[in-house]
């Protein structure tokens, strides 16, 4: 009984996370500009990856590997700090070197 509940919860978290990751990848592929592409991936990817790691954490905690749970928690905290920082650094570098934002009517870049 408990086993199937944990499996269903893990599957739900994994599918939700993969949905967000797929959305971020399609945004990276389809948006017209560098800034809009990073707008898509910087948020969708962070949320999707953290949801997937949360599902893995539930599964691992039920099967009793406390060190692996602690390492997954470390990866989640690191993602929440590092992913927006990396996105901000790239966008700042692009803005300072003069990449113009896209406006309606421009061609895709």
């Amino acid at each position: 009984m408990m086993d199937s509940v944990v499996n269903a919860l893990t599957t739900a978290f994994l599918i939700l996370g993969v949905f967000f990751m797929l959305t971020g990848a399609i945004g990276l592929l389809r948006f017209p500009d560098f800034y809009t592409r990073l707008h898509a991936t910087g948020k969708c990817d962070t949320l999707g990856e953290v949801l997937i790691l949360l599902g893995c954490m539930i599964y691992t905690a039920y099967h009793g590997m406390p060190f692996v749970v602690f390492k997954l928690l470390c990866i989640i905290i690191f993602f929440f700090i590092a992913n927006p920082t990396g996105t901000h650094a790239i966008v700042k570098a692009a803005y300072k070197t003069g990449v113009k934002p896209w406006r309606v009517g421009d061609e895709r870049r």
Partner: protein, 90 residues
């Protein structure tokens, strides 16, 4: 049952890595390529965590932690280099 779920999730993440690889290969300009490589790196970290459950080997999560740190440092150094033209000034 849950093993098949992990396998399908891993294959889907690999498909999203392929989608991002298109932007890294043909994306106009160097900034698109750096951003796409950063995204691919973070996806590969999650893929390593999923592979741990497919192969039933808890060694892979240490590789995932090391890869996450390397990917973050690489992105920061690359963007600083593109911004200033040098990594660190005297």
């Amino acid at each position: 049952m849950i093993e098949q779920v992990f396998l399908i999730i891993g294959l889907t993440i690999a498909a999203t890595v392929l989608l991002s690889l298109y932007r890294a290969a043909v994306g106009p300009g160097v900034f698109n390529r750096v951003a796409a490589v950063n995204v691919i790196g973070t996806k590969v970290v999650v893929l390593l965590v999923i592979v741990q459950y497919i192969f039933k080997n808890p060694m892979f999560i240490d590789i995932a932690i090391a890869y996450a740190a390397l990917n973050f440092i690489g992105t920061i150094i690359m963007s600083k280099y593109l911004e200033r033209g040098e990594v660190c000034s005297q």
